[in-house]
């Protein structure tokens, strides 16, 4: 797989998930000095409180979804709610997240950069929107509806992790989080009530059968000769 060890991908019990690209939190922002400094000044505290594995996430860039209709990019710091507006219509509300304790100038520049990249006229958002609507349009076709979506990218290279909760994939390019999203969606559709969902709390991740992926990988890494 390309991009192994440059990031991770996660999925959780209730369909939330994200991919993280290591050390890339502010990469999308052009004017980012204030934000870079803020992360450098605060990462030590994160490490102390939560450990190096969480510090790694803190300085990475995330593309994340809270099931089912809230998505955000941590690092770029855009935050979106997708409101259904009836059949075939959706209204998107976009917000910017800023660290509460950053100085005013840093907060302002994060807001400007987030909107410049992923706002209504954003340099990246404009292309992404085109992809999403085109994918929806072509997947409505009769031939496509007869087929099946392939969402198997990286499917054997993920499993329970000794440190992180949920299921963790080894590469930030992969579909671990998508599988987790649709898994929970299906569970919701099939469940008659909340009790039926709660009954799956201990077995929800049974579809990820490669249980020793992380223990094996981490011990193999430890056995490697150090430079």
């Amino acid at each position: 797989m390309p991009f192994d060890d440059l990031g991770l991908q996660f999925t959780m019990r209730h369909g939330h998930g994200f991919g993280v690209i290591d050390n890339a939190a502010t990469a999308i922002h052009v004017k980012r000095d204030g934000y870079v400094n803020y992360l450098e000044e605060t990462r030590g505290e994160i490490r102390e409180k939560f450990g190096p594995e969480r510090e790694r996430l803190y300085v990475g860039h995330w593309n994340a979804s809270i099931f089912p209709n809230c998505s955000f990019l941590y690092g770029t710091n855009t935050f979106k709610i997708w409101h259904p507006r009836g059949p075939h219509e959706i209204e998107v509300w976009t917000y910017t997240m800023v660290p509460k304790n950053a100085d005013t100038e840093t907060k302002r520049s994060i807001q400007r950069e987030a909107i410049r990249s992923f706002g209504t006229a954003g340099t990246l958002e404009s292309d992404d929107g085109e992809n999403m609507s085109s994918a929806t349009y072509s997947n409505n076709g009769i031939i496509t509806r007869k087929g099946r979506m392939n969402s198997s990218m990286g499917k054997d290279r993920e499993g329970p992790h000794p440190v992180y909760p949920g299921i963790v994939g080894v590469s930030f390019i992969g579909e671990t989080s998508y599988r987790g999203f649709y898994r929970f969606w299906q569970e919701m559709l099939d469940a008659p009530d909340w009790a039926a969902i709660r009954a799956n709390d201990d077995t929800w991740d049974a579809m990820w059968t490669n249980r020793n992926f992380w223990p094996d990988r981490l011990s193999a890494k430890q056995a490697e000769p150090q430079d």
Binding site: V30, T96, Q111, G119, A121, T123, S126, D127, G129, E130
Partner: protein, 174 residues
């Protein structure tokens, strides 16, 4: 509000309207680099603020450049937007949108020697892909400077009338 200032004379007014027509033709022909080099001043503030829709009794102050805005660009930032369109990797503009601009209600006032404040209405008709048609109306407030190489805009404020954006994106120049 009654305008107490005196609009510019016929000849200047005509020159400004002609300038806008030439600008529109460059944008319609996707000559974004030429547009940027020809009409944009280096001290440009290119601004499309966000106006909230509020009840009359719940008025809010007008947006400032410190607030969240759809565009809030300086020269380098606007140039980056132009550069992006010319990378050959922009899916949203391949095939390109067919955009027509209709600029009306032009009113120009001299605010300093060779500097003008110009108000206009702009209708943008954007035809994309097979069947996408979007219409935007905007109020435009320009500050233009008359130079040896024609008019340059150094402040452009765009008030888009839609309070919920009726398009996939607003990545087009006005």
């Amino acid at each position: 509000m009654t305008e107490t200032r005196k609009p510019v004379g016929m000849e200047l007014h005509h020159a400004i309207v002609s300038h806008y027509s030439a600008e529109v033709r460059m944008l319609q022909n996707q000559q974004y680099r030429k547009w940027f080099d020809t009409v944009i001043a280096e001290d440009i503030h290119y601004w499309m603020p966000v106006y909230e829709q509020r009840f009359s009794r719940d008025r809010r102050p007008d947006p400032t450049p410190g607030d969240a805005a759809i565009y809030n660009d300086d020269y380098a930032e606007l140039q980056q937007r132009v550069d992006r369109l010319l990378t050959g990797q922009v899916w949203m503009e391949d095939p390109p949108s067919r955009i027509r601009y209709f600029v009306t209600n032009v009113e120009a006032f001299e605010i300093a020697p060779d500097e003008f404040e110009v108000f206009s209405n702009v209708l943008v008709h954007r035809n994309r892909r097979q069947s996408e048609v979007y219409v935007h109306t905007l109020g435009r407030e320009d500050k233009l400077r008359k130079t040896d190489s024609g008019f340059k805009v150094f402040s452009r404020k765009l008030n888009i009338d839609a309070r919920v954006v009726q398009d996939k994106n607003l990545y087009f120049f006005v």
